[in-house]
Amino acid sequence: MTNTLTIAKREFRSYFNGPAAYIVGSLFLLVVAILFWNTFFLEQSASVRNLFALAYGVSVFVAPAITMGLIAEERRNGTLELLITYPVRDAEVVIGKYLGALGLYTVLLALTVPQVFAVGSMGQLDMGAVWAGYLGLFLSGGAILAIGVLASSWTSNQLIALIVALSIGLFFALIGQLLIFLPDGVASIFEWLSFGYHENNLERGVIDTRDVFFFVSVIALCLTLAFRSLESRLWK
């Protein structure tokens, strides 16, 4: 446990040691703010739902950029070998790195809070819906980050990790849009797999354990696979 946190802390810090955190942070904040405030005054209501929907959309692109280097870059530099030969379990390495990325993502979400307050100052906010919305962003983003960690564990090239994570993330983000082209049975499976569907439920202010369970399962599955991929070095 201590090792996991030590790795998470180092990972989180290293984002701020270079330009990465600042570039990703300002990009995220800027894009979300511009798109949100652009249409906000047309809507005539003090709702932050659009803000959450936009933040979710942008996070599909931003999260893979946060995770791309986590394992791939360490593998390329050889630091992974040293890290793994410390007295740690492979699972602690994977989870530690994931938590470091989740930490940065949480900072990004925190950066949107002032905009929520700004909206609140113009009308009455449903605080329950705000909490549910943030939970949805946290979980959906967490799932994309886990996909990113997995992609990063497959390669030593962070560009490939980025592209793979982006492709998988976009697939799960967009399959919700294909439902009308599909027969009913298949459509309901695709709907259930769609990140947007579950995120949308939470965004509406409905905290359903099934949606929470879905994202938690995706995270657990991806991290387990990443752990396996790291462990496979033993047998190669």
């Binding site: 180092r10 270079g18 050889g78 630091t79 070998e81 030969t85 410390y86 007295p87």
Partner: protein, 322 residues
């Protein structure tokens, strides 16, 4: 506790069809500095990766400090300080931050972290650069940061993969001195393809070629056994070369005496002994008996480089040029 820090039995590793190491058997005793010597691709790094539990052996087993590298990986890792090839470091971190991270990963806490960083920094003479970013450091300093990291928890065993490669001669000497100092109290296994390094640094050499151990001995006895030593003798030219040669041939244990080209006013001979004994004292006495003025007397072992070539590119030892 057993006196053996490393026991490898039939250690074998395949990468697909490629056999990286093939039934390696060796032991390393507490306190030794052992050099793994071999050409690139001989299996040195693979051996080290298995000992540090980064890779699993295909067959055979290895124990470090009494723990099996596969069954008790965490205990093995605790007993080892490791510096992988080409010194991978988190270059965006400050030296101090990085050592703090290494200390925490080693399970150190609170005051112990500070104490061990201080000790480690002193042992590797990093005092001047602890506040600097690692990427701003020279290769020699980076190497020492890597060593400091490996030493942070005072492990009984250090495994260093090519610790001196890529350094300029001054840096290499500095790093070598650090390693020798470390080796006074700890067991060190280092790999290299630099023969001179092994001769200066190591108590024992394991030569690996094509995945097998082809020699396991001290640097000195390796040079001795690889070929018969020869003695180069020079006398002042007293116009009587035949007497000089005769005197030398009279010595017990001398096989061949050959006149060789020497400096002006000198008579030089090459003396080849029939066995491995040191004939220098006898040669000196022969010179005195024959009333010859001895100007120089050298014993030349075959150097490690020739042995290395013989062992690693084929051909048996003991056929050195005489």
């Amino acid at each position: 506790m057993s006196d053996l820090v490393i026991e490898a039995k039939d250690l074998t590793k395949h990468y697909g069809d490629f056999v990286a190491i093939d039934k390696l058997n060796f032991e390393v005793k507490r306190g030794e500095i052992v050099g793994l010597l071999g050409p690139n691709g001989a299996g040195k790094s693979t051996t080290m990766k298995i000992l540090t539990c980064y890779a699993a052996p295909t067959e055979g087993s290895a124990k470090v400090n009494g723990y099996d590298v596969f069954e008790n990986a965490l205990q093995v890792r605790e007993a080892i300080g490791y510096l992988p090839e080409s010194t991978p470091l988190y270059t965006e971190m400050l030296v101090y931050e990085y050592l703090e991270f290494a200390a925490e990963m080693r399970g150190l806490k609170g005051e112990a972290i500070k104490r061990q960083i201080k000790r480690s920094v002193e042992e590797t003479s990093l005092g001047e650069v602890v506040g600097k970013e690692i990427r701003a450091l020279s290769k020699g300093y980076r190497q020492r940061v890597g060593l400091a990291q490996a030493l942070i928890h005072e492990p009984p065993l250090l495994i260093l993969d090519e610790p001196m490669s890529g350094l300029d001669p001054n840096q290499a000497i500095e790093v070598r001195d650090v390693i020798k100092a470390i080796g006074k109290e700890r067991t060190v296994v280092l790999s290299t393809h630099n023969l001179a390094e092994v001769q200066v640094t190591c108590d024992r050499v394991l030569i690996i070629a094509r995945g097998k151990i082809v020699a396991d001995d001290t640097p000195q006895s390796l040079s001795d056994r690889a070929g018969r030593a020869r003695f180069l003798v020079s006398f002042a030219d007293q116009g009587d070369a035949a007497n000089a040669q005769a005197q030398l041939e009279k010595i017990a244990g001398v096989d061949v005496v050959r006149s060789i080209e020497g400096a002006r006013n000198e008579r030089s001979f090459e003396v080849i002994p029939s066995g491995g004994e040191d004939l220098r004292a006898n040669i000196f006495r022969a010179a005195v008996d024959g009333n010859l003025t001895l100007l120089s007397l050298n014993r030349e072992g075959q150097n490690l480089e020739e042995i290395f070539r013989q062992l690693t590119v084929g051909g048996a030892p003991g056929q050195g040029k005489a």
